[in-house]
């Protein structure tokens, strides 16, 4: 039996996905299916005066047109599911269909149900809505000023919550030798999963069951929320996520669209499908980031960082989305010290509502915002005290001996050797030589820059006790059932809900290794509340750490029971049985053995089972991890800047990551590449813009630059392995590291290149025009 853990097996799921045989929600067709099309507000803020549906109702193929008036008494409000403690959070009442006020462009006011998607859209165009436009507010810091338009009457100065953590640090700052102050703008990003969102709902008249196929990262959370909103008990509600084409956080939330499709399916007794267009995806599917951060760092003249604090205004959009309040608080504020041993830290966050698309988790969720802040501040500090940025990092990184390390907010960093990854990156780069080259090139009017990011992040979201303590309205454990069929083939049911990450393969590797059976004999089943008892889904790089942990424990239960049966069969006591490579054998007598498959068959035939052992063979585990996991690493980017055009050319990118134990190195590599591209995309290309009236100016792929493969050099990756003690597999999580680490590495590199021009910082994305203009304004510095 060959080793399968740690092998770069090709992905199981690709057999169907690459050949176009995947099944996405929109691929589903049901008998009698009809189509929903939403009528959406063209205004960012307006009162609805009237909705005239008559013309639309008379259009061919139209079954019904419903407005907010029709749904408001039949549907609950769409809630947020994260209420950070000590934050004074106010709910933003969010009806599925707006009936009095619309609060962002795209807010749905009516739905048309018709026999064909074309008819639905034609009729939606005929719904006449009279609006009274109101003034809009889009910028998070402006929104809290006096006299600004109020997005929700019940939310004074648009402050949905004010969350603080950490002590008053005025004294520390007053006494500090060096204080660096800076303001950063985390621009707004649009996740752009390859597959837009979709929902298909079917009501079963006989059983009163509603089934909803929906593009979700967490079907059980969806069921939980839909159950409350629709008033359908959970045992009569089934949520299915078949193939889901990426989410990046944007498919965590429960949205009005699936609520309305579900409600209409029950009302009309017809299967109702709703599918988002790419345009709608830009307009209504949750966005990411969008902070203004006022940051201060205190340190000594010789490079010891003493304190970091931030006051942040986080734009949450028009309504508090499902996980939104947790992102700029727990997932951001608690880790602003990054990988550094900084004794003092505090964060002060305003969660602000505006007339924009709701903002929620986006790959990294909070941690990129924190990492950018600290990694940029370290560079600004280094520059101010004229130290090399690497030297400052070396001096302040948490030492390998210090683990478990408790950060200023009480987070316990599990394990690590931060200097170790930095050392490898330095060697791969040949840093001193590159600095010499840089100096020589500058003399020729050529500008290259080197940018570092020595990050840590927290992921593997769980345990549930912490979830409760930080106000997440759910658990963060995971379930797994390993069901061995009579022939020894295995179905694994996981509460995690992978949607492109490759766990159908990695999970099979875990089980295959432990049971000593071929991975081809293992099927990973996920994304269906009817088949999986419970689960909390895939986000926060938790799937392998928590979901994988549950699978490991369930597999161990199977082995435990099988061992009993094997001992019975081999007529020895259980303690004399060893299990290795799929074979149970008698210790010391290796030829007295019986295979796992033979034991399985015995378990099912049950002709002769040991005392007290039940027939069949399966194990179920509900696993709650001990703590978060903390992947870390050192990234470095080398860029050149063309002063004539402001073009930034990424010459090299080195990522040395420690994500704990690695189950499938190819999949890990893929996750890192994808993360890097998204993080670099934020640094250089992506940025959603609104005008002052709340119109999204970057509303399509023609103007919003999702990075293309050709923009990038070959990434150079390396690893160290420091297992996490917080879960049985020793894994840490890799889904978000690239997106968390790379953004500041790039910006640090560009600022390093621009150093001769006296340019310290520019707002992201660093478009060529911005860079060129800054060079123009600072020509004197050259």
């Amino acid at each position: 039996m060959p080793q399968v853990m740690g092998q770069a097996l090709k992905r199981h799921e690709d057999i169907r996905l690459i050949r176009g045989r995947g099944q996405y929600t929109d691929d589903m067709t049901l008998p009698g299916m009809v189509y929903a099309e939403m009528v959406r507000s063209p205004y960012a803020h307006a009162n609805i005066l009237s909705v005239d549906t008559q013309a639309a109702q008379a259009m061919p193929g139209v079954l019904a047109v419903f407005t907010g008036q029709d749904t408001k008494d039949e549907l609950g409000l769409i809630p947020t599911a994260w209420i950070p403690p000590n934050s004074d959070l106010k709910m933003t009442p969010h009806p599925a269909l707006a009936f009095d006020t619309v609060r962002y462009v795209g807010d749905a006011v009516a739905v048309v149900i018709a026999e064909t998607p074309y008819q639905a859209q034609d009729a939606a165009d005929q719904v006449q809505v009279q609006y009274q436009p109101l003034q809009a507010v889009v910028h998070p810091r402006e929104a809290v000023e006096d006299g600004r338009p109020q997005v929700h009457a019940e939310i004074d100065r648009n402050i949905a919550f004010h969350w603080t953590v950490g002590p008053d640090l005025d004294a520390v700052f007053q006494q500090a030798e060096v204080v660096v102050r800076h303001e950063f703008r985390q621009q707004r990003l649009i996740p752009n999963a390859m597959e837009p969102r979709a929902a298909l709902a079917q009501y079963n008249n006989a059983t009163d069951e509603l089934t909803v196929w929906v593009t979700t990262q967490n079907p059980h959370i969806h069921r939980f929320l839909l159950s409350g909103i629709l008033g359908i008990p959970e045992h009569k509600l089934r949520v299915v996520a078949i193939d889901v084409g990426g989410g990046f956080g944007s498919k965590i939330a429960c949205y009005p669209d699936e609520v309305v499709a579900s409600w209409a399916a029950r009302k009309l007794r017809r299967a109702v499908k709703w599918t988002e267009t790419r345009q709608e995806n830009f307009m209504i599917t949750s966005h990411g980031r969008d902070h203004v951060q006022e940051v201060e760092l205190a340190g000594t003249r010789d490079g010891q960082i003493q304190a970091i604090r931030v006051k942040a205004y986080s734009n949450l959009g028009a309504y508090l989305s499902t996980a939104a309040p947790g992102v700029p608080t727990i997932l951001f504020g608690l880790i602003i010290n990054g990988a550094y041993d900084i004794p003092h830290a505090s964060a002060d966050v305003y969660g602000v509502v505006t007339n924009t698309t709701p903002v929620d988790a986006y790959r990294g969720a909070g941690r990129p915002e924190a990492t950018y802040l600290i990694e940029r501040m370290v560079d600004l500090y280094a520059s101010q005290i004229q130290m090399d940025p690497v030297a400052v990092r070396e001096k302040n990184l948490v030492k390998a001996e210090a683990f478990p390390y408790t950060n200023p907010f009480g987070l316990q960093y599990d394990s690590g050797n931060y200097q170790g990854t930095l050392k490898i990156a330095l060697d791969m780069l040949d840093y001193p030589k590159l600095r010499e080259e840089q100096a020589a090139l500058r003399k020729d009017g050529k500008y290259i820059g080197i940018g570092w990011s020595t990050y840590v992040e927290m992921c593997g979201l769980g345990p549930s006790e912490v979830a409760g303590a930080v106000g997440f309205q759910g658990g963060l454990w995971e379930s797994a059932t390993v069901r061995v069929h009579p022939t020894g083939k295995v179905s694994v049911f996981t509460g995690a809900s992978p949607h492109g990450q490759g766990e159908e393969t990695t999970f099979a590797q875990i089980v295959g290794q432990e049971l000593g059976i071929p991975v081809e004999d293992i099927e990973i089943v996920h994304g269906d509340t009817a088949r999986i008892s419970m689960g909390w889904g895939t986000y926060g790089s938790r799937t392998t750490a928590v979901g994988g942990g549950a699978i490991h424990l369930a597999t161990q239960k199977v082995i435990e029971k099988a061992k009993k049966i094997a001992a019975h069969k081999l007529e020895v006591s259980e303690s004399d049985v060893v299990f290795e490579d799929g074979m149970f054998s008698v210790a010391g007598v290796p030829n007295r053995q019986v295979s796992f498959q033979a034991v399985t068959l015995d378990a099912y035939l049950a002709w002769s089972l040991p005392e007290g052992v039940e027939p069949a063979l399966e194990g179920t585990a509900f696993y709650d991890p001990k703590n978060f996991t903390y992947p870390f690493g050192a990234h470095v980017a080398v860029v050149s800047v063309d002063p004539d055009t402001g073009d930034i050319h990424l010459m090299r990118y080195i990522a040395v990551d420690d994500v704990g134990n690695i189950i499938n190195p190819m999949i890990v590599e893929g996750q890192i590449h994808g993360g890097l591209v998204q993080g670099i995309g934020q640094a250089l290309y992506e940025g959603a813009e609104y005008d002052t009236e709340g119109q999204l100016l970057t509303g399509s792929l023609l103007d919003y630059a999702v990075p293309k493969a050709r923009f990038f050099p070959r990434f150079e990756t390396a690893h160290t392995v420091t297992p996490s003690p917080h879960n049985p597999l020793g894994v840490k999580g890799v889904g978000e590291t690239g997106a968390i680490a790379s953004t500041p590495a790039i910006v640090n590199a560009v600022m390093d290149a621009l150093h001769p021009f006296g340019i310290q910082d520019l707002p992201m994305p660093l478009t060529p025009e911005k860079v060129w203009q800054a060079i123009q304004q600072n020509q004197g510095g050259r």
Binding site: Y118, Q121, L702, K708
Partner: protein
């Protein structure tokens, strides 16, 4: 992303297409569909009738005679890239078509469709303008020719009458000593040119053509730079001044930061340098 209802027709002759066009104003011709269909799917265009012209034999084919290459309006970008006659007689056209969009776009999109759509940021207008091409147009009053310099009137507006269609593009053969370059700066999102500079030098340096797309409201010639280069020759010392002249005279709008003129200067300079290298 679903179109409004429309009537669909297939024309098999130019006259038949012209007849449909005369039915009313809400008729659109469909060539490769790569500009028209996105507009219709976004419901930014909702023609009552769409007439497919891809089956009209007169719109197909590339021929060369009397120092002119005639390229049928339905010639796909991919064909413009590879066609031996175009490569021999008007390589600038091939060079330009080669960097349009991606493979799928080049496989479907047509030269006629691109020119008639007259997107501010289309690539091919630069080439046809630099090559002094003539648009062969058929309408109710018969066939007429419109010089490229008069064809692009405003963003998405051409000199084509409402009942006319483009039959072919006539491109004068480039001289045998001609060297040409099309230099494009793709937009990071759309891939369309932020600026595209088409340039060629020939007749021993006596003729220099520079046409610029993407950055102004329509494609334009850098006439002052052309004249300067014709007078001073294309060499490392003249390029800087030519680039400066092109930038100063470029009809760019809303250039608050000066970046657009800067790009004109840089891209004209780079295109000329590249051309000068090929010349030696």
């Amino acid at each position: 992303m679903l179109t409004a209802p429309f009537e669909f027709r297939r024309a098999s002759t130019v006259n038949e297409a012209a007849d449909w066009l005369q039915q009313g104003t809400e008729v659109k011709l469909l060539a490769g569909g790569h500009s028209l269909l996105p507009l219709m799917k976004l419901r930014l265009a909702a023609p009552a009738m769409v007439v497919d012209i891809s089956g009209i034999p007169e719109l197909h084919g590339v021929i060369a005679h009397d120092g002119v290459v005639t390229v049928g309006a339905m010639t796909r970008h991919v064909e413009v890239v590879k066609n031996p006659l175009i490569l021999a007689e008007a390589p600038l056209l091939s060079q330009t078509a080669a960097v349009i969009g991606d493979v799928q776009v080049r496989n479907r999109g047509t030269i006629g469709g691109s020119l008639c759509h007259a997107d501010t940021a289309a690539d091919l207008p630069a080439a046809v303008l630099a090559l002094d091409a003539q648009m062969v147009v058929s309408g109710p009053d018969g066939v007429r020719k419109i010089p490229a310099s008069e064809f692009f009137v405003a963003p998405f507006v051409t000199a084509l009458g409402p009942q006319e269609l483009l039959v072919a593009v006539e491109v004068p053969s480039m001289p045998s000593d001609a060297v040409s370059t099309y230099l494009k700066r793709p937009h990071p999102a759309s891939g369309y040119p932020v600026i595209g500079v088409a340039c060629w030098v020939g007749y021993g340096g006596a003729t220099v053509r520079l046409a610029i797309t993407g950055i102004g409201p329509t494609v334009f010639r850098a006439a002052e730079a052309e004249a300067y280069l014709a007078a001073h020759g294309l060499n490392s010392s003249s390029i800087g001044e030519a680039a400066r002249l092109a930038a100063v005279h470029a009809p760019v709008e809303d250039d608050i930061t000066g970046y657009k003129r800067q790009l004109v200067s840089v891209y004209v300079s780079r295109a000329l340098q590249h051309t000068a290298k090929g010349k030696n």
